[in-house]
Point group: none
Chain length 195, copies 4
DNA sequence: AATGAATGAGGGTTCATTCAT
DNA sequence: GATGAATGAACCCTCATTCAT
């Protein structure tokens, strides 16, 4: 990569970072190209030179965001933590970014998700999912997970927790009940049957 | 209420219904006052005569929606169903409306929720919450809920399930794992300890 | 037509007149909605309230223009002038408007003309064409037109003359050769055979 | 011309050809410098290095086009065809290029034509016009043209035919009346007086 | 000489809101 | 009270042109 390309990449990054931070805070609709340009310290047209439309930019920002978010997880999966510890972190670990995400950005995120031929699905299937399955099997072997429950269901269950924990509107009321939620996660509402 | 007022109320209702249906389908941002006026068969200015701004209208629509949605629950609480059955229905019952709700409407819903002095909070505290608490205590007495877990946490847990079930982007993949999710809800990932 | 509608029609007319004069002078592309709004003394949005887009406006202006231009002809056809006189006037009569028409307006005019289901074609077939045919038959009966030549060809020939005379870029050089052109029109390049 | 200059000339040609083809198809206004650069496989700035602005480029393209178009005629004038045959060809010969010319290009062509100190006028006066005059005189001598008609008028007449034949919007309806039009050209609407 | 990158100015269009009847 | 008409502000996007390498 020569000097030209490097500068080009850097500019693209500037724009992505500016867009991402604004999208996360205000959502995609409320943020205008002009604002992104201002924060990225480029002209509006420069943005159009790199990303052909606002829609395409949003898409690229989502991809950028996923890469960024995933890298936080990769470490965790490869760590030496025990199974319950890993799971707890997955659920409660607040990605600093994700935690303040705005609903309208989330919405576009999801729209991208539901569309066919999308990047997220692919990324998910090839990188994220295998890691999770691996973790679940580990959990089943070690007796932490009821083996009669399908991996799909567990994944779903974990993701539900995880996403819900990260919803900005409920983050505040979360702390006092963390302990209880952990219990609920592991033993459900019936609770641990200690006999 | 005389004839005048009745007509007035009917017009307001027309507007609310029109706005609600559009908001649910397209979100609040993408729906213009002009469109609402058209569907409600009213002039734009009439809307402004009743609701001083679009923001206020959205607020009123949310309130209207909550009343509508709550009435579906009230029946359930007063029914003769067993505790587990009630809980299952709460979680899995798809409110036909809620199921197709658009993210941007949801977003405004949540914004309203997080603001102070809001209607939802109040409504929730005075009408919804007590019913839930009552249900949980019933569940604890009957041995269906671990009594060491706080009602706040259980409420949170239930709502998480409920809301997640209703997310339009995942509704499709839900059916095959309903059984497992029910198990997870009651016994967590560790599963029922039958010995 | 009540007061409302009358004012509405008047505003529409204001806009059409403003747009027409600008289009004729500068062409359709170079004229912005902002300029039309300014000359018509309305806001840009008002234009959009009446005409849903610039394209639609151009279309309506063309229709308006045709009606206007045609009314100049109707008189001529019904007059008591002799056949040669009528024909001469058709060819050389400078519609004050048409004479200064800008090429880009002409272009859109023609685009409208070539599209299917267009107004011009219909107008032409139902109003203009019959009048011309009538005139040609009159000319043939009176010995002014070679009866072996089809009406289509004559129409074509006349229109060619007419349109060409009105081309702004050549109007200036026209006057000194009017006489000769008349001869050419009636007798072709071979000239009158006076034996 | 050394190697450098040759390459330079070749690049200029690339640009002219690219611009011409785009202008003919889409008109001058709708074609952006970026598109020309792309088709010519050159950077935008290179275009500015050779032609100082878009307007200047358009001018040069017009000159280029005229040279190209004229060469088609030169052959015809020098051929051994009879006078009537030559004239017919001039009128009906469809220059493949000219036939699909876009109105906006034509417009700029004409604008250039009407401006003073222009190339077209000069070219016309010095190269094209003399050839036509020569032809007309030949026609008059051979009895094909009424000698009482000025050369200006005949030229005008011919050009009118020629240009009108080439108008894309009427080319289709032309074929069936070619015969009649030829008659009209030679004998006018009164027709040949054979006795 | 040639290029990729960057830009100011402007265009069409939409929208929530207000005016005037 | 209800409406059609009108608007200023903003938005996304394009373009001819210049800058910097």
């Amino acid at each position: 990569m020569d000097g030209f390309e490097r500068r080009r990449e850097q500019k693209k990054l500037q724009i992505l970072e500016a867009a991402l931070s604004l999208f996360i805070e205000f959502g995609t609709q409320k943020v205008s190209i002009a604002e992104i340009a201002k924060r990225a310290k480029v002209s509006q047209v420069t943005i159009y030179n790199y990303y052909e439309s606002k829609d395409k930019l949003i898409q690229e920002v989502i991809i950028y965001y996923i890469h960024k978010a995933w890298s936080e997880y990769e470490e965790l999966f490869q760590s030496d933590l025990t199974f319950p510890e890993k799971v707890k972190r997955i659920i409660f670990q607040k990605s600093d970014i994700a935690n303040h995400i705005h609903a309208s950005f989330f919405q576009d995120f999801m729209k991208e998700y539901t569309e066919e031929n999308n990047f997220i699905e692919e990324f998910y299937a090839e990188k994220a999912l295998p890691k999770f399955i691996e973790l679940f099997n580990e959990g089943k072997e070690q007796g932490y997970i009821d083996p009669s429950i399908s991996n799909e269901a567990i994944l779903f269950y974990i993701q539900m927790f995880k996403e819900y924990m990260q919803r900005p509107d409920i983050a505040n009321s979360l702390l006092p009940i963390t302990e209880d939620l952990t219990k609920l996660f592991f033993y459900g509402i019936v609770g641990k049957n200690e006999n």
